[in-house]
Symmetry: C2
């Protein structure tokens, strides 16, 4: 990722930090379920194999302070992590392309626990338009702009065939979508104020294959 | 990602390069479908917004040479990219955890075009064990070790609940799986010779949310 800060004084978190925070969250959530009261960065470090100084640095972005020799209070750390990551707020999203992956995302209610509120699906195929998937309506993608004027979803999840990806992205942005979660291998071009996150599962496959040919190397994808 | 090379002299591709190669592949595939014969790194650069010197460097790892002023031959570049990325070879995989995401992956025949040959699913829930999903059998996860002695799949796709992830990973590795594609937010611990790729969709969500609060910044996730 390339990232540049604009001239205003907003704090943009380094991406490696944002990537580690969900690990801490998942571990702290488990501790909270076990009614553990305190956790130190040394403990988190041991569990997650991240340097404890790095953990202290990452958590310093949050509104939470550890106590010497005791560590962080588990329930407050849990709440701060969820707040900070945006998992406690609702973000309305649409799925564009209701093939197998799009359908799975519409049916996966687990994403709701992470603040993602999928409200509708869009497709071009007449056999799915007008149907429901995971209890959510599927509309014709040509209706997206009109639909958006009423619903104002902020995120579009792109699970369309790669050859339609750029065109559909343009359409979504023109209709007021501000963030694209792109699951296609297409490199979407858009204005700088559009947030684009690429979950490139094909790239991850390529990485797995490459590493499998080169075993006995230390490797962890962050 | 952290990556260290072992003492033997194997070439481990830098991960940013591996991440970019599928973009080139997707673009070159499109050109090939349009029967375009040659493509220059300048053209690829313009299309994908990657410096052309970077493209030339990335492609130098492949067994393909561009011609001055003409560029790369599209069909050869396509073949070399697919070969190099491992998408032309079959890699047998199992899905462990046949919830909505696991089921979607078992039904998604698109992954076959990227060399991923999912052959079976495993679960702990009696209502799915013995069923078929996407034409593939679902077995009891307790049968994995015995099943592996006959089938020797190399990759396990982990789509289990986060609290079972480490236990299931241990089980998969003990049964001879050499690569884990981890879709859970759990930070899997394993010996260094096990390849682990984390597709952390929750981390990607957190990144989207964080960037949405900070619009007007240039941002692209690679």
């Amino acid at each position: 990722m390339s990232m540049t800060k604009n001239n205003e004084n907003r704090i943009i978190l380094p991406e490696p930090t944002i990537r580690r925070l969900p690990w801490y969250l998942s571990y702290v959530k488990m501790l909270d379920n076990l009614h553990v009261e305190y956790v130190s960065s040394t403990q988190i470090s041991k569990e997650l194999n991240v340097q404890s100084s790095q953990i202290a640095k990452d958590l310093s972005f949050l509104n939470v302070r550890g106590k010497t020799r005791i560590g962080y209070e588990v329930p407050s750390l849990l709440k701060e992590l969820e707040d900070f990551l945006g998992f406690n707020r609702h973000h309305d999203a649409v799925v564009i392309g209701t093939g197998s992956l799009g359908t799975a995302l519409m049916q996966d209610h687990g994403l709701e626990h992470y603040g993602l509120n999928i409200v509708a699906g869009f497709d071009v195929r007449s056999e799915v338009i007008g149907q429901h998937l995971g209890g959510l309506p599927v509309y014709d993608v040509s209706e997206l702009a009109a639909w958006q004027r009423q619903h104002r979803a902020s995120i579009a999840i792109l699970t369309v065939p790669v050859e339609s990806a750029q065109h559909i992205a343009d359409l979504a942005i023109a209709s007021g979508i501000t963030a694209l979660w792109n699951f296609t291998p297409c490199r979407i071009k858009a204005a700088d104020d559009v947030v684009i996150a690429n979950t490139s599962i094909y790239a991850h496959l390529a990485i797995i294959y490459n590493r499998m040919q080169n075993t006995n190397i230390e490797f962890r994808q962050d």
